[in-house]
Amino acid sequence: MSALAAPTFQDTIRALQDYWADYGCVLMQPYHTELAAGTMNPATFLRSLGPRPWKTAYVEPVIRPLDGRYGENPYRFQHYFQYQVVIKPAPADVLDLYFSSLEAIGIDLRRHDVRLVEDDWEQATLGAWGLGWEVWCDGMEITQWTYFQQLGGFDVELVPAEITYGLERLAMFLQGKRSAFELEWAPGVTWGDVYRENERQWSAYNFELAPVEVLMRQFGDFEEECRVLLERRLPFPAYDQVLKCSHTLNLLDARGAVSATERAAYIGRVRNLARAVAQVYLELEADGVAAA
């Protein structure tokens, strides 16, 4: 990487898209409802289950209301971007594939210190866990790397590798910037130009204005809707209700409306739904029906 040729944020995304498309991934698009992680996109969560191979890559905007700081802190946002890759089953050279992707976006692996540091991933709301690493580049965590073991409480049949690049961190590293706001998104336009005001407004909504009573009622409605859809054996729309429950809970959390124990109970409810969705999805997969 030379300082003169530092790639813009969109250059980096484009380089990753090209790299993984060339490898044979299906390039998906961001999902249409709020997700707290690229893992929650059905293209990862549901398609990692079952016996069929799957390769995908996509940008995912992640929404974490609690992490907003009104655009004041250049390290904390309620909305940022991940680049998500899932390869199922994980090939034996999957780490080398990943390291090559770093070279493709301009990281000279011989000049930098790239390391894999233990990080065991667990997401209680999805009944999911796996083992893997955070990838450090000169001390900067640029990727979360996981071999999924369970999703929705079910053992995976073919072990997928999940590679989640933190796009802002990666770009900060590539552009030598201390602050995400200063990242060059496109020539002459910064990340801050595009999203800083967005952060301020959404932080106000998340922390001050999101209507607690409405949200609490909606949580129950989404939960009920999920059950109805599962009875009709429609796991994809049912799964959207799980995502909405999860995001609603995160908003309630940001509003300080749930105590730690209440929160644990809500998480348990979301997990039960996720498990039920995974079960129906797997049943349909076994029948060769789902996800044509």
Partner: protein, 613 residues
């Protein structure tokens, strides 16, 4: 004889997995190959064992079958199962069997290596393909070299980014070939290189103990130095140290300098990158810190009503109220009560949410910044001490009181909700709290009245004394049954009784107590409610009753024992001359009462029936 190398090549193993494998590998290797390895190499990408001299054939093995007496019944089946002819079975020591000839080592190596792989066990493991093996991280190659022969696999691999596949011409050249390819396979050698590198840079610290992990985070050791902007020194020091150590595995050098260990790369580029990352973390912490300080510790404390302590135990505001009450009952002064009021304020801070291990410390810092007296700030900072077995106690008096109040409340609240630890399950950390409380009393000299401990809690806390004091448990149990008013007094009594166990005075008290307890203990129901002096007919019983009034058991234990021992001869005479089981019910009841009084007065020194003779 030949030299042998076995290598299991992995994706990056966690440090804990490396340690687990390092402990098992020599044992498994010896089990499979019959001798201990000369060297064991453990690192993030490889586990290897080297044997200088192994026999090239496995030893012949006598396979023992059924007893000779069962030849008719069992010989055929045994022979069939083992794949030998019945007529080839021989006899040895009364059993049938046969000598299985040893095999060429090269022929068995693949299966032996496979057995080692399958039997290495990790506390966390994964599946990664359809072979059904579980391992800490995926295995990507294996290599077995017998002298110059490659028996399993093809090559090994050098440093992940600066070297590719590496030819190992002979088993004995494994380590040197790897070193030439940028890998130090020996964990001890890496540790020495890291320590030497750190020493050459300066006066490094490792309060969080990350060195043990760093040894297994690199295959190639490159110790580098960095620094950060001095403006971050305004942050509480432990915030900076935690960001360096637990987040980045750096070693603080004091001031704004730090050292770290890289696995390769251009030193200048890697240094700048790491400095950027640390400054980013510190900048982020500064935002949080400044927001908290702008709010101030008093306003933070007012937000505690919205934060749950734990289910059923109210909010942190409720906890604060309880702490203030307990602190007062424990004799806390004004500074302690003020500290109690602010003790949990940092639970409402943003910085503690990011640096959870620094609760208390951060509150103390915020109290100082708000201008509270040092005694208040120090007490807030010390409230969680001792936080590890053998860890330091609070240094200040207010800190001791607050720390004791915090533990006492955790215990009392948890027990009242039925969260008593059972077996190894102790999710609320109550054992540690109880041990901490006992240590504050015994080592810290804090007076913790036993009456402050609710039922159940008191037993649980005092049981901790049994493990803590260097005195046989019977003496602790005896002392626990005494009238000692506080925890330290129980401990002192147990120690004093034990120290005096061979003295005449102890013997006298013990004997008097023992005789009174044996005779009257079971008949307590028949005893008079109070001693009636008018009913004392015999000289010996009058003397005993008289003697009893002179016994002084409170205060210094040795003097108390001597005082109590004065009853021994009186008891002797009493038993010689007086028949307790008098025909007259009233007299009998009165004599039983007298003996029970003797037991109870001496019993203020402890339950001597707990101590075996």
């Amino acid at each position: 004889m030949a030299s042998l190398l076995l290598e299991i090549g992995c994706e990056e193993l966690p440090a804990a997995a490396c340690r687990e494998a390092g402990a098992q590998l020599p044992v498994l290797a010896e089990r499979e190959l019959g001798l201990a390895p000369t060297d064991v190499f453990v690192g993030p990408r490889r586990l290897a064992a080297f044997f200088e001299d192994v026999p090239e054939r496995t030893p012949d093995e006598w396979v023992k079958g059924p007893p000779v007496a069962l030849r008719e019944k069992a010989a055929k089946g045994f022979a069939k199962k083992q794949g030998v002819a019945v007529e080839d079975l021989a006899e040895r020591d009364g059993f049938l069997g046969f000598e299985r000839p040893g095999r060429e080592l090269r022929d068995v190596l693949p299966e032996r290596l496979d057995a080692i792989v399958r039997d290495l066990a990790f506390s966390k493991s994964l599946r990664w393909d359809d072979r059904g093996i579980r391992f800490s991280r995926p295995i990507r190659w294996t290599l077995a070299k017998l002298d110059a022969d490659t028996v399993v696999g093809k090559k090994t691999f050098g440093h992940r980014f600066s070297a590719g596949a590496v030819e190992v011409p002979r088993a004995g050249e494994y380590a040197e070939r790897l070193r030439a390819a940028g890998v130090e396979p020996d964990a001890e050698a890496r540790r020495r290189a890291i320590v030497a590198g750190l020493d050459s840079i300066g006066d490094w610290g490792d309060p969080g103990g990350v060195l043990e992990e760093v040894v297994y985070l690199v295959e190639s050791v490159q110790v580098l130095e960095g620094s950060f902007d001095e403006r971050f020194l305004q942050l509480p020091e432990l915030v900076v140290v935690t960001a360096m150590q637990s987040h980045q595995r750096y070693f603080p050098l004091g001031g704004n300098r730090f050292a770290f260990v890289a696995n390769g790369g251009d030193p200048e580029i890697v240094r700048v990158g790491n400095e950027n990352v640390l400054e980013g973390r510190l900048d982020d912490a500064s935002f949080t810190f400044e927001r908290d300080v702008a709010v101030g510790i008093d306003a933070l404390a007012e937000r505690l009503g919205a934060i749950t302590y734990f289910k059923g135990a109210g909010s942190f505001a409720d906890k604060t109220e309880r702490l203030r009450k307990l602190a007062a009952e424990l004799g806390g002064g004004e500074a302690t009560l003020e500290a109690a009021r602010l003790a949990k304020a940092d639970q409402a801070s943003e910085l503690v949410r990011e640096f959870t291990d620094l609760e208390g410390y951060i509150g103390g810092q915020y109290a100082r910044l708000a201008g509270y007296p040092e005694a208040v700030a120090a007490a807030i900072e010390e409230q969680y001490l001792p936080d590890a077995s053998g860890g330091p106690l609070p240094r200040t008096e207010a800190g001791k009181v607050l720390a004791a109040a915090d533990k006492l409340d955790a215990l009392a609240t948890s027990f009242s909700l039925g969260h008593k630890p059972s077996g190894s399950r102790d999710p609320y950390g109550l054992r540690r709290a109880a041990i901490g409380l006992v240590r504050l009393a015994v080592e810290g000299g804090l007076v913790v009245a036993r009456s402050l401990l609710p039922d159940g809690v008191r037993e649980f806390v005092e049981e901790r004394l049994e493990g803590l004091l260097a005195v046989p448990v019977e003496f602790v149990r005896a002392a626990r049954a005494s009238a000692a008013p506080d925890l330290a007094a129980v401990a002192q009594l147990a120690e004093a009784l034990y120290a005096a166990r061979d003295s005449e005075a102890f013997d006298g008290v013990y004997t008097a107590y023992d005789r009174a307890h044996r005779l009257a203990g079971k008949s307590a129901g028949d005893a008079a409610p109070e001693l009636d002096r008018a009913l004392l007919k015999e000289e010996a019983e009058r003397e005993l009753a008289e003697g009893l009034t002179r016994v002084e058991v409170d205060g210094d234990v040795q003097r108390a024992l001597e005082s109590g021992a004065t009853l021994a001869p009186l008891m002797e005479r009493f038993f010689d001359e007086v028949l307790v089981m008098d025909e007259d019910d009233a007299v009998r009841a009165n004599r039983l009462r007298l003996l029970l009084d003797v037991r109870d007065v001496l019993g203020r020194l402890g339950d001597f029936s707990q101590i075996p003779r």
